[in-house]
Symmetry: C2
Subunit: 504 residues, 2 copies
């Protein structure tokens, strides 16, 4: 495999831009080209999530090649939902590693701020499972359900989880205030965080990355430079929440990390800093666990302890992350690489020199994730015998469970109350992932938003394609449990079978 | 570079399908997997042009991975407009050539028939230049203008050009009638062709590929099989017609071909058969010239002479081409590779054994094109010293000309009369590419559709962003020419400069 080096990087200021998508991408590209000794570009790889619907741009690869005055050279557009920028980097990496090209311009961008929040939310939600979307699920709503599940699984009190999430937000906004290209230039206080409104419980406004315009550019070359791409990996996970076996980890990140660490021949302990996909604050916590920096359930504590702070032993999102730098979806994965390369070159404020940085980008709801490891050419060798990073069992190929009707009772696996709802849904909207009596998961809308708690029993009814649930009163739930036990104890096997058939 | 081989292929029947996009892609994938010894797939590469707007599918790579029961493995979506299937093959090729993966499933698909023709035309037209689209230009309209220019440049009578175009249509429908997966299973006669209505002069209904659903799959592997990808190349060209220096050739095809021939170490004379992008019949003629099979201006004659016929020396689109097989845009580039691999394996009807086949796919209006060369493992060596395929000068990077106001007079560079117009435009709609007095090209709408001819003088007026043109009467045109000559002969250089300034 030919080695792949970084010969130049560039990015626009993130935020609201008057430029068109192609113009922003060109601005980032020209910045990268101006700072690089590489000029004769062999090919372009361009990441963008959905320019078709955000800006009406189709055929974006050729358009950008033309706008850059590079028409003639190969130009490929790559899309992996919100990790498209990292996807473009990976295809560019493979194109150089293959020997097909020697100098590649990897570009990424998205333009979103010109649309209304509801239009943007609608486009973003299209990466989700259709049935879950029909219930009113949005990206923040599903991220909130993952946070609630995390709280229960690791036995955190509500205030403990809120402290952890707020610590991520406060840290990343403080970091963003030192980054001139960040969308948000002001730190926030804990009080500001807690004064902000719920988007979907337990996530508040400050738990969610903003809507942003921006573009990034990286020049890759087969010739040695001061920074190389030492490892890169990609993994996928189920699109829907209800097809998951685990909610508090993204197997797609673990699979991508396993591949990247293996290619780089290093272990998590060898990483000096990381830029991770904090589109929602709980994602940063989960991701630092998935990357092997902290044990499962300990990522939140690490933030509270300052381990991932700007001056901590492993700075995470020292440039502000998606949270404060902004999140032009298709651009973010490449912007992380731009910022990590700058970190390694000592071009950003930091308290010490770094030799190895890692970037992690998430597509959809942890559905298509990539991990990239950058290394300075003068990095000291790593300790011998890095323990192999465990490849997640849940990331192995698995057949989707066949669809069949849900039973009419179940328990809450996780839930949220959505306050910022998509068009056509009135807040507060209760959503829950319900495990029915067949052990199958389904997304359902609450007929009421009171008394929601993980593990609580619910009754389920179906109207067309939509499942609705009602939490049972305590007395009702106890009665039902008793009656079920009684029926099971007294029923003949034949009667049982008949009952099972009825449920199908 | 690691060698890249084909271990299995599959495709759906092309036409109108009741399946969803993901289901069609899975069907093609399962067919390929069932026929292949390769089972453990390392990664997916998926080509689709615009599932976001055709079917509302976002995040298609992860969705397909999940539907195939392959969740966990890397899945990348690639888009290069209507050549997306070939783009996916190229990124998959590079991923194997790099050594990153050993076994890749390349997939491509598009679902279009559920939409109205006008909705489909609108989505397809989005790959075009915005200003040209605002005039009412569609893909067929611009293809028609290219055909008209071809006629003029190579001094063909109208009936001679029509004979050539009809010969392509008749040949490809005859070929499609032998292909069980083709959308159209019946041959057409010359009479049927000439009885069909004009879409945009000189193109009739039978000059245009249909709207189609379909998907294709190719398994690539680093291990030897009976067919290898010997060469692959990509090139780009201007998105707009008015930025072109040449209209009767696609420099993007020439650049892609130069790269593919060079990688394969062969020349056009070594190719036994070709599948080329005949979305419009004139594109097949131009492409066989761009690929070096025939000299410029001789591609039409070659069809009439039977050189590209099923039983000719160089069969072109022996499987029906896009014209008769159908054209699910994102799938076509990969379907060509599927059919070419089958040809090489002797699985399709043919009159002799083939050793080397070429596929060519066109993205947009010749904007993002790819060429792939497949070779049987038992192919005899080619003649020594293949002459290098000339890399087109027009495919070299060039800066876009700055926009400035058009002068108020010009000449017709090429034109069409559109009978199947986009929403909001009434037929007959005259469109012309006008060269103004600064030598600049602009797309304009005719105030009248009579008396159009290449080279004819027109007056131009502008309303907002729209240019309108009127053909001058013969007398008026002669008078104007005379007055211009007179002014030029009598004007002082200073006055001339002033006049030039006025035009800016």
């Amino acid at each position: 495999m030919n080695p792949v080096h970084i010969a130049g990087v560039g990015m626009t200021k993130f935020g609201k831009s008057p430029l068109s998508l192609a113009e922003m991408i060109c601005q980032a590209a020209e910045q990268a080209l101006n700072k690089s000794s590489v000029q004769d570009i062999d090919a372009l790889y361009i990441g963008a999530m959905n320019p078709e619907e955000f800006t009406g741009d189709s055929n974006i690869a050729s358009r950008v090649a033309e706008a850059l005055g590079l028409i003639g050279i190969p130009a490929m557009r790559v899309e992996t939902a919100s990790s498209a920028g990292a996807g473009a980097l990976m295809t560019g990496f493979q194109a150089i590693a293959s020997g097909c090209y020697r100098r590649i311009l990897v570009l990424a961008g998205e333009k979103m701020t010109h649309l209304s929040t509801s239009a943007t939310t609608r486009i973003l939600a299209k990466v989700l499972d259709n049935q879950e979307r029909q219930c009113g699920a949005t990206m923040p709503a599903l991220a909130a359900m993952i946070a609630e599940k995390y709280r229960q699984e690791f036995r955190l009190s509500q205030s403990r989880l809120e402290n952890m999430l707020s610590a991520v937000a406060v840290k990343n906004h403080a970091n963003g205030s030192r980054n001139p290209v960040a969308q948000f230039q002001q730190p926030i206080t804990r009080e500001t965080y807690f004064a902000s409104k719920f988007v979907a419980t337990p996530l508040r406004l400050y738990d969610c990355a903003p809507i942003t315009d921006g573009a990034a550019a990286v020049i890759l070359t087969s010739l040695p430079t001061d920074v190389r791409v030492a490892g890169i990996g990609q993994g996928t996970g189920p699109v829907s929440l209800r097809e998951r076996e685990i909610f508090t980890s993204f197997p797609a990140t673990r699979a991508a990390a396993a591949r990247a660490y293996q290619m780089a021949g290093i272990a998590p302990r060898d990483i000096d800093f990381a830029e991770v996909h904090d589109a929602f604050t709980p994602f940063e916590i989960i991701t630092t666990e998935d990357l092997g920096f902290f044990p499962a359930g300990k990522g939140g504590e690490a933030v509270l302890d300052g381990k991932t702070a700007f001056d901590g032993p492993l700075p995470v999102n020292a440039t502000g992350g998606l949270k404060a730098r902004g999140h032009p979806v298709g651009a973010s994965g490449l912007a992380q690489v731009v910022e990590a390369a700058k970190q390694l070159r000592g071009e950003l404020p930091s308290l010490r020199a770094f030799f190895r940085g890692l970037t992690q980008s998430t597509g959809g709801l942890g559905t298509n994730n990539l991990v990239t490891i950058l290394e300075r050419s003068d990095a000291p060798p790593v300790q011998d015998a890095a323990p192999p990073f465990p490849f997640p069992a849940a990331a192995l190929p698995q057949k989707k469970t066949a669809l069949r009707s849900a039973s009419d009772e179940g328990t809450i696996e996780t839930f949220t109350i959505v306050y910022v709802t998509p068009d056509g849904f009135l807040p507060p909207l209760a959503l829950a992932l319900i495990r029915d009596q067949h052990g199958r998961l389904l997304m359902a809308q609450g007929e009421d938003s009171a008394n929601l708690k993980i593990g609580r029993e619910v009754s389920i009814r179906r109207i067309d394609d939509l499942y609705l649930f009602t939490v049972k009163g305590h007395l009702q739930a106890m009665q039902d449990s008793f009656m079920r036990l009684l029926r099971r104890a007294t029923a003949s096997p034949a009667a049982d079978e008949g009952a099972a058939d009825n449920k199908l």
